[in-house]
């Protein structure tokens, strides 16, 4: 099994303000960018985050070899149920996903 993390330079997740999360997949070059675009579907990412696919924004940025996902935070930053103040933990969830 080849994962997203196996073929990319870095996967980073972060708050985009207290109400949104964003995940940036830095693929490194055109070949690996194409591999991630083809092998990581938006509905699988929505399932991994357990969110409605309609709330998930996807940007395939060929100039930067980056695939970016943004979504409203399932728990608002700092809510008593929030486990991750800075949104750091979403990156490994994506990095460990298998590429189709």
């Amino acid at each position: 099994m080849t994962t997203v993390g196996d073929v990319t330079d870095k996967v980073r997740s972060k708050n985009a303000g207290p109400f949104w999360l964003t995940v940036d997949i830095f693929c490194g070059d055109a070949a690996r960018f194409d591999r991630v675009v083809a092998g990581l579907s938006t509905d699988r990412v929505a399932a991994a985050f357990d969110v409605d696919i309609a709330t998930l924004k996807r940007f395939d940025i060929a100039d930067l070899y980056v695939v970016k996902f943004s979504l409203p935070r399932p728990t608002i930053q700092g809510d008593i149920r929030d486990r991750d103040m800075h949104g750091a933990g979403w990156a490994p969830l994506i990095a460990e996903m298998a590429l189709a």
Binding site: K14, N15, A16, G17, P18, F19, W20, T22, D24, F26, A48, F49, D50, K57, F59, I61, D63, L64, V66, K68, S70, P72, R73, I76, Q77, G78, D79, I80, R81, R83, D84, M85, H86, A88, G89, L93, E96
Partner: protein
């Protein structure tokens, strides 16, 4: 032409002194720095305090006040004291006066205050929580985010040091080039690229960058030894903490960088042109608010016994059920939540975790939130005996687990929550802000 020197991404992160002096020698028109962010959570806005100590803030701010005197240009900070409430603006004014007195310097100070007591009509932004008048009343602090117009008014006072409450991250940088007639798309784009200091370059910790704005775009130059901006590092910065890498909403319009072109002008500097500024029909500012949502007490145990490590989820489920019963029995129907997060197992991702736990030890963090501190502590104290001694089955001898602390319970005080993610329309950009030149 406008030259802006940015010492670092935020006051408190530190900056490279040699690079700062290089920037001062290059004759900037303005030294601009950000003082805050929501990124550390709602507690700072809720309490109206800085996340950095007074002493460390004073040390870094004094260096910038000296640099300003040497450069002979204004110094501006946006979102002073992490959250940009009136209390943190006053806190930084007090620090500034102390520095000026100690260093034998004179400088005029202007403040721009962003705190709100009454709100006009609010429009929710995507992802906003529901609000009503009751929730707004519960907010301990509400701030509006100033844009370029309010910063220009502050710069036009002619003050040497401008201490602004909550502003957008970009406004303190974009305001002056916009006023000078530089390219509007370039002004906002350069501000967004530069607002985190050298995060848009290699060696991001070095902090110091210089932005040169003109009528067609901007050039960014990191000033520390070993720091280089490349078309890739600069364009990639639009991704950072941004839900949309092409569009950035600001008071009065939005930035669109879809057509931006980046090219290297030296081995360290990058030229950027092609971004567009799209004015909006109505002038709106974003508002932020935080309110107390409860009081917390936490308690922690660490588990090393392999039998219990292997069955820790069942152990926690068992404790949660027994504890809930006991709370009701002892305290009646008391409004609270109790959560057991298993560190080394699923503490970060909860139900989304996909990997099996393989650790040889785990931590169990009990988090109790109630409507008073006394209730939270009492409920956590009822959790204590279970975390210390609860057996997986009745047949096994009574186990004991490791507690790192005595007392085992730690009160965390009031817990705040972000309550607003809305915009408010203004007929006059200054109507929600207060500008004052201090004597």
């Amino acid at each position: 032409m406008t030259r802006i020197l940015i010492p670092t991404g935020a006051l408190g992160l530190g900056y490279d002194q040699t690079a700062l002096m290089r920037g001062v020698a290059a004759g900037p028109d303005l030294i601009a720095i950000d003082g805050g962010s929501t990124d550390s959570g709602p507690s700072y806005l809720g309490r109206g305090v800085s996340k950095y100590t007074r002493a460390s803030t004073k040390g870094e701010w004094a260096g910038l006040i000296r640099a300003r005197a040497q450069a002979g240009c204004p110094l501006i900070i946006g979102t002073a004291g992490t959250c940009g409430t009136d209390s943190t603006v006053d806190w930084l004014v007090d620090i500034t006066r102390e520095i000026l007195a100690e260093e034998g310097l004179t400088a005029t100070i202007a403040t721009l205050k962003s705190q709100q007591s009454a709100l006009g009509d609010l429009t929710p932004l995507p992802g906003a929580p529901d609000v009503d008048a009751g929730i707004i009343d519960q907010c301990t602090n509400i701030v509006a985010l100033a844009g370029a117009e309010q910063i220009q008014a502050a710069l036009n006072t002619g003050a040497d040091i401008i201490i602004a409450g909550r502003t957008t991250d970009t406004a303190t940088i974009a305001a002056l080039p916009l006023q000078n007639g530089d390219h509007a798309g370039g002004a906002w784009h350069g501000a967004k690229i530069g607002e985190c200091g050298a995060f848009c370059a290699t060696n991001p910790q070095s902090g110091v960058i210089q932005l040169d704005f003109d009528t067609t775009g901007f050039t960014i130059t990191p000033l520390a030894d070993g720091a280089r901006a490349t078309p890739h590092t600069v364009s990639a910065h639009m991704l950072y903490e941004n839900s949309d890498p092409y569009i950035l909403y600001e008071p009065g319009g939005h930035l669109d960088v879809t057509q931006a072109k980046y090219h290297a002008v030296s081995d360290r500097a990058v030229r950027v042109e092609g971004a567009a500024w799209v004015p909006s029909e109505t002038y709106t500012v974003k508002v932020e608010g935080a309110r107390v949502v409860g009081y917390q007490t936490i308690i922690m145990a660490t588990i090393r016994d392999p039998h219990y490590v292997a069955n820790v989820q069942a152990w926690c489920d068992d404790i949660a059920a027994l504890h809930a019963e006991k709370v009701t029995r002892r305290m009646g129907q008391v409004d609270h939540t109790t959560e057991l997060r298993i560190i080394g197992h699923s503490a970060t991702l909860g139900g989304l975790e996909t990997l099996p736990a393989t650790a040889h030890e785990v931590g169990v963090l009990g988090i109790v939130t109630a409507q008073t501190q006394e209730d939270a502590r009492a409920i956590a104290m009822l959790l204590n005996p279970y975390l210390l001694h609860h057996p997986l089955t009745q047949d096994e001898p009574m186990p004991t687990f490791a507690f790192p602390f005595s007392p085992a319970e730690t009160d965390r005080g009031p817990v705040y929550g972000f309550a607003l993610h809305h915009v408010m329309s203004l007929s006059d950009p200054m109507s929600a802000f207060r500008l004052e030149v201090l004597s």
